[in-house]
Amino acid sequence: MTNRRDFVKQGTLVAGAIAAEAAFRKAHGLAPHTPEPPPPVMDAATRELMMDALNAAKMAGASYADVRIGRYLQNFVQTREQQITNVVDTDSMGAGVRALVDGTWGFAATRTMTKDGIADTAKKAVAVAKATRAGRDKPVELAPSPVYKDVSWKNAYTIDPWTIPIEQKADLLLKANASAMKAQNVKFVFSGMFFRKNERNYANTDGSVITQTIIQSWAPMQFTAVAPDQSDFQNRGSVSPPAGRGYEYILAQDLAGNAVKWGEEASQKLKAKPVDVGRYDLVLHPSHLWLTIHESIGHPTELDRANGYEANYAGTSFLAPPEKVLGKLKYGAPFMNVQGDRSQVGALATIGYDDDGVKPDDFLIVKNGMFNDYQTTREQANWLKWWYDSKGEPTRSHGCSYGDSWSSVQFQRMPNVSLMPGDKEQSYEDLIAATDRGIAIVGDGSFSIDQQRYNAQFGGQVFHEIKGGKIVGMLKDVAYQMRTPDFWNAMDMIGGRRSYELGGSFFDGKGQPSQINAVSHGSPPARFRNINVINTGRKA
């Protein structure tokens, strides 16, 4: 575990986030003192139902239990070209109870929000745990956590998207679509806005009682250019990242203004030169690199994966067993630091308290190039006690427990995992200028990685050929293949704090049954030497 001092030394992301927040507010005319809505207040009836659930679980024999009562709202608007294709509002509310009996978990969930309904559900969770005991080997033991009684929290939204009329959202999208369609051969645009609002209430038998509200916003767009003779078509997407913010974030994206450029890029891709296969130096923009970080650092450093808990679906990890890699495996150059946190303002996984009732801390997954820590929950933190003891640090959860709905059992999910900026203040353009023969990649594209996170292949959205430190033209059909440790050890240049940007996924899947997590990844641009590039173009 890292302390504050480490972060200050490495050029702290927290300070960066504060600066970014100030810049963000300035950019769309929110005065620094523009008040955000206050954190939520838990209503008495919800609190009482949660206490009923905990009591019923204890009476039925649970040694520990927690309950989540949540209301999960979604709003989405979808368009194509100059028309609306879908307007949907969803509202789901219910209670999930998790009970630990004799070291075995049981879970049950219901939408029947009555005293009897919730008590029956708690009893069912205990009954499931008792029945399942027959398959237990070692008992579950939870790492200690302070109790947080009657606390509340909200994320960084200022404008609740549910207060914005539908026609205003649609109008903004249709304007952006029209801007993009001015470009030659751009015939189709698909765009939309997705909003989530989670009102989450949590209580456990340790005594924590927590209420939180989270809003997440995203405006995905895709532009398609079609050759006049139908011999080719090219897409440009991945233009505007999702964020843990409100409608003010959508406004700040300037979709209509930027769509002109995005449409032009789709059009230019039709004329782009097919890439020659070979080895190139790659300059990867943060809008692209976030996904490579997600797949090749985010997922393999999940402790449940490393210990085989996801073997049947998402897979395991090359970072295993922990005792052979923690403090021993060199992930990359000494300037490489990767932070796990749930604290970056505006990031998707940012939260006050996790679904174990833990207040998450910031921790370094990669420290000075060496593999340093995994993502953990209360159940998992004890598995690494030997490691924390060896460093003289307390054994505690990093606060990565998350269930995507009241009806989903919580388990370990990814916090924000970010590549920290370098000490030297240099930009994306500086990295290009320093490169003799390479490809600069903007935007995430096709992505595929094996079940232990070794071998990956990534595409992108826009590919620029670099010669003699200058961009000389656009390429197409580009994908790079990599082996994770080799790839990160090939990173030789990294941008400074001012070049740091957040990207992220609105729909990251894991678990059985599959659950969705939204997570952000910050990074500066970075350069990677001598990477294998393939050409993906074929004839049907």
Partner: protein, 459 residues
């Protein structure tokens, strides 16, 4: 105090899934609340019991029930949908009102189609008491068919997922349409790894009827594969003759379904776009031995026999003897192009042959046997070119025999290219591991020149 060990039946606190009669009554009630020009109501419910295990022990088990009502109100070309899981009359009234408010504010959708009237929909019986009555104890006992032998062996680690589900889905509207479908389903998948980290084997099975699921057989297959896949050697990537087990075939071939939309073909942004204009209907696109259909009534399928619009679904033939016969026409696109709407299929069935996997191996001087594929992602939508990797059982075949385990490969290939390189096909089976969901029935196949582009160290 401990409860006595006994059968603990999992009974839904919410009274199980919503019956046909209750669904119809609820739809009629909601329709009466409407002040819109037209209203469409979808009532769905589900009840799920699951068991997860990993690292040779249970990890989580759960029991979840939920129900949703989706209301779509329309005023001419304006419409909006609001969904709630609160089924009280008060909440439903608020939901109807909210959908009307949103619809009135929404810009026109010039492609909006009027609701369908009553349809002639036949029933598919897909609910089995054997599945509905499954207890948590039965689920654990099933899981023990993998856990116990793995623990006993000492050099194996098992991880798996067993889920039993019941669900209902109903659609009705102010024009008198009513459609209902209920089903049960059990899905079991298991991955067994060797403790030395060099071997991994996967197996799975799925069926609406619990009695048809050979749980112990699935566990045993995964264990055998784990042992056989130990200590893989690296061989050069390149083009190989490959025998794909049904799961691997399905992973790649079912992707064709995602590209079957007539509109995107006609608009020039699909693999079935014809250069110069129009689409490839009537053209030969894959090997003439292959036919691809959908049929909710097929006994191996038992899927919902109507689509999201309420259009009845019968047997549909998309590719017949290698020729593209049908693309998906939405009601709007069909009207615009002067065609019949096809309905959106709820199953995927590929025809097969008579060769067994063993026959295919025997006839192969040198090739690769693939258990399943993983992390498939689109690389080029113009050709359905995908990349992905082999996983959990990849073997070298030499002189008609499996000679040894090999390291996993990354491939870059298209199901269209692959099905033009066909050598042999076996008996179709229902898959357990379908990421897209729905019933997928495919055979094992043997193809030549499958394109492996790199090696992976992943086990």
């Amino acid at each position: 105090m401990r409860a006595p060990r006994r059968l603990i039946p999992i009974v839904s606190a919410d009274g199980g899934i919503i019956s046909r009669a209750d669904s119809q009554a609820m739809i009629q009630r909601v329709v009466k609340m409407s002040a819109a020009e037209s209203i469409s109501v979808n009532v769905s419910s589900n009840e799920t019991n699951n068991l997860r295990f990993a690292a040779n022990q249970v990890s989580t088990a759960g029991s979840v029930s939920d129900a949703n009502v989706a209301v779509t109100s329309a005023f001419g070309p304006k419409r909006a949908t609001v969904v709630t899981n609160n089924l009280t009359d008060e909440a439903l009234r608020a939901t109807v009102k909210q959908s009307e408010t949103l619809a009135k504010l929404a810009p026109d959708d010039p492609e909006a189609m009027p609701n369908l009237g009553p349809q002639n929909i036949r029933t598919v019986t897909a609910e089995f008491a054997s599945t509905a009555g499954l207890s948590a104890d039965q689920l654990v006992r099933a899981g023990l068919t993998a856990l116990e032998p793995a623990r006993k062996a000492g050099d194996l680690v098992a991880a798996g997922y067993l889920v039993a589900q019941r669900a209902s889905n109903a659609l009705g509207n102010s024009k008198g349409l009513f459609a209902y479908h209920s089903n049960s389903n059990v899905n079991y998948t298991v991955t067994v790894r060797t403790t030395d980290g060099t071997g991994s084997g996967w197996a799975g099975a799925e069926h609406p009827d619990w009695r048809q699921l050979d749980v112990a057989g699935v566990s045993a297959r995964a264990i055998d594969k784990a042992r056989l896949s130990r200590n893989p050697v690296a061989i050069e990537p390149g083009k190989y003759t490959v025998i794909l087990e049904p799961q691997a075939v399905g992973d790649l071939v079912q992707l064709i379904g995602f590209y079957g939309d007539a509109r995107s073909s006609d608009e020039g942004r699909s693999p079935f776009t014809k250069q110069g204009g129009g689409n490839k209907l009537g053209e030969k696109i894959i090997d003439p031995r292959i036919t691809i259909t959908a049929d909710p009534f097929d006994p191996m399928v038992l899927a919902q026999p109507w689509d999201f619009d309420g259009l009845p679904l019968g047997k549909q033939t998309f590719i017949e003897k290698g020729v593209l016969k049908e693309l998906y026409y939405s009601r709007f696109w069909a009207k615009k192009q002067g065609k019949q709407p096809t309905g959106a299929p709820t199953s995927f069935i590929m025809s097969g042959g008579t060769a067994s996997v063993e026959d295919m191996i025997r006839s192969t001087p040198r090739g690769i046997l693939v258990t399943r594929l993983w992390y498939l992602r689109e690389v080029d939508p113009r050709t359905i070119l995908y990349t992905g990797l082999t996983r959990d059982g990849t073997f070298l075949i030499e002189n008609g025999k499996i000679s040894r385990a090999v390291k996993n490969f990354r491939f870059n290939d298209s199901p269209l290219f692959m099905l033009n390189n066909l050598e042999a096909m076996g008996r179709p089976v229902r898959l357990a591991g379908t990421e897209a969901g729905g019933a997928v029935i495919v055979p094992p196949i043997k193809v030549k020149d499958f394109n492996f582009t790199s090696l992976s160290d992943a086990v």
